[in-house]
Amino acid sequence: MKSNKRNRLNIGLTKLLAPALVATGLIVSGHVVAADEDTINIGFISPRTGPLASFGKTDGFVLEQARKALADGMTIQGKHYKVNILDRDSQSDPARAGQLAKELINQGVDLMLAVSTPEVINPVADAGEAAGVPTLSTVMPWEAWYYGRGAKPGQPSPFKWTYHFGFGTGEFYQTYMSQWALLDTNKKVGVMYPNDADGSAIRGALVPRFKEAGYTVIDPGAYETGTTDFSSQIAKFKAENVEIINTFPIPPDFAAFWRQAAQQGLNRQVKIIQVAKTGLFPADIEVLGSLGPKIASAAYWHKSFPYTSTLTGQNGTQLANLWEKETGEQWTQQLGATLSLLDAATESLKQAKNPKSHADVRDAIASLNVTTIGGKVDFTSGPVPNVSPGPIIGAQWVKGTGKHKLDYVITENVTDTNVPVSHKLLPYNR
């Protein structure tokens, strides 16, 4: 509570400073954008700093690859265009993401891109929808994007300008069922979902379907983010003898929960610890030390995806290796996800009658059906208009065999069977 207050004060201060900064920003950047008819401007918003920085960490590198590929511009319908990507950092702040989107729209971008988490994508998509600028995004559950922004099930889509591709809760469900069937368990699932938007959405969407599929779900209820002691949940899981745990925590909460669970001996009875949100990136798991290996995860991209980028021509392994060579850091699944967004964006532009017309670009996105480095992006056959569902592949963190502390290996592929399964799922408690 106190921390909220503090954040609000911080934000208050930022708000005071923001107009001044925005004003200077507009003056400076107004000159940067070439508003001529021969240049296509693409806005790109992602969280490069702040609590979501681990998502945005690789974006600079991916954008560099894209800019190299676009150095000579694009030829669309016989006309040559220069392509200019204007990338902005949302600083993990939804208000700032919306503000940046409005700025970019005022600067006349032809296509808006947003990547990683509802905190970035939803405000940007809302700004794009309001201003009639085609907006494309990926990496958040599509239900939270579609229904979370006011669409109603069974009714026509209210969105004319915004499109999203990638995994949804339906894919999570399929993947978890496929992953959990790999081991012989007593089918008792302990779930730990936080009291936030993700947590409630996942509880509503997944728990009833787990039960239908024959699992016994032990749900101690939503916990508050920032809790430092999880004794009561752990005691409950022990008493009910759960062998599978599914949780959607932020990294500090998961570290607190899982260390305490280990102190209490819960880790000795759990065969599958299926973690989402935490565990997308190696650093989240490395902080757990010897408790890290064999934690199960689900990946929206993996370097062994058998696809090639339409923009840069790289395949997953090449992209990951180049990142590791240039930075010395381990590859992450965000590399391919961000590049797939740029793939889909440039393909849409190519197919547009006139890439400088918002309506033409929007129509091109709506009829897009291509294979990017992240897999198929197909807006012609989605479950709802404006959405193209994508894979979330069952994976596991295992002790590293090469130069990294941990390796990320694929254990099942129900949501995209082209992706090769390389490892057997290992039980956590052995």
């Binding site: 954040n7 700093t49 004794s231 280990a262 102190q263």
Partner: protein, 300 residues
């Protein structure tokens, strides 16, 4: 149930450890240091940096960070708190609040957004446990609890039985009169601030060992420290230990009633104690009142 109680008491030890620096500063210098949490995170980062760079054990790094934090405490007192106190009661609160924002953002600037921990440098200590019948008791929580007792006990002994302690108490009571009998009040206050910052370094390391931290992790720590201090009664260091334990038990009971009740339970008991302190006989809730007047004249 017994297990929850044991876990809560051990967690209370951690809260007491983070609170004792705050309580000590308030008791001795009449300053509520709102930068307390941020300073703890600062020291956690320093310990982390040394551990990482010199491949030391975090415990060795802590020994090296202690004098650095003591120095920071000294400077803090001389450069900021001493001047702020002259401007009335509110000014130290405002200036330490500002200081905490500055520290948080400098840490973010320098260390970025990645979550850090010290636990991965101590092998399996962070999650190993002793098994007693049906009870599983973590080794690290016991270590932290014991540290809290040692730190609080040590501070208490220093205050009671050493000449430095007498000087600190005298300065706290009335700096001007203390000056009349030959005590250098400025120096004494600076020493007290240095001692407080050393406890902050210890609590920062405890945080790093039992959990994770990032640049903005200070505020929740300050909140827990503040609550434990108020519940325990600002006048006594042992009260802080009791306050920490009461806070942790309240949180655990809250969590037993409802999973979202963890933080809420703590806040509720904190408010209860706060109002009780304001409206009831001030003596009623102190340790002294319940233990008889053994320690008369000791607490302030």
């Amino acid at each position: 149930m017994i297990n929850s109680l044991v876990q809560a008491i051990l967690l209370g030890g951690y809260y007491a450890l983070i609170a004792c620096g705050l309580a000590f500063m308030f008791q001795v210098m009449r300053i509520i240091n709102l930068a307390h949490g941020s300073l703890a995170i600062l020291s956690a980062y320093m310990v982390w940096m040394m551990t990482e760079a010199l491949a030391l054990s975090p415990f060795t790094s802590l020994l090296m960070v202690l004098p650095i934090m003591a120095m920071i405490g000294w400077l803090l007192q001389r450069a900021i708190l001493e001047r702020a106190t002259k401007g009335g009661e509110l000014l130290p609160v405002l200036s330490t609040f500002g200081l905490s924002i500055v520290i948080d953002n400098l840490l973010f600037q320098h260390f970025g957004a990645n979550t850090r921990t010290l636990a991965s440098y101590v092998g399996d200590l962070s999650w190993e446990s002793y098994q007693l019948f049906d009870l599983w008791i973590g080794k690290l929580p016991i270590l932290i609890f014991a540290t809290a007792i040692i730190v609080i006990g040590g501070l208490d002994l220093v205050l009671r039985f050493t000449s430095l302690g007498r000087q600190i108490r005298a300065t706290a009571f009335d700096p001007d009169t203390a000056g009349l009998v030959g005590i250098d009040a400025r120096k004494t206050a600076a020493i007290a601030a240095a001692i407080a910052m050393m406890t902050v370094a210890i609590s920062g390391s405890a945080l790093g060992l039992r959990g994770t931290f990032d640049a903005y992790a200070g505020a929740p720590q300050l909140l827990f420290a503040f609550e434990a201090t108020i519940i325990g009664g600002v006048g006594s260091l042992w009260g802080v230990l009791l306050g920490g334990i009461i806070l942790a038990i309240a949180q655990s009971v809250g969590a037993l009633i409802h999973p979202q009740g963890f933080l809420l339970g703590g806040h509720f008991v904190f408010l209860l104690f706060l109002f009780a302190r304001i409206y009831l006989n001030r003596d009623f809730l102190t340790l002294r009142h319940w233990l008889g007047n053994k320690s008369k004249g000791e607490s302030l």
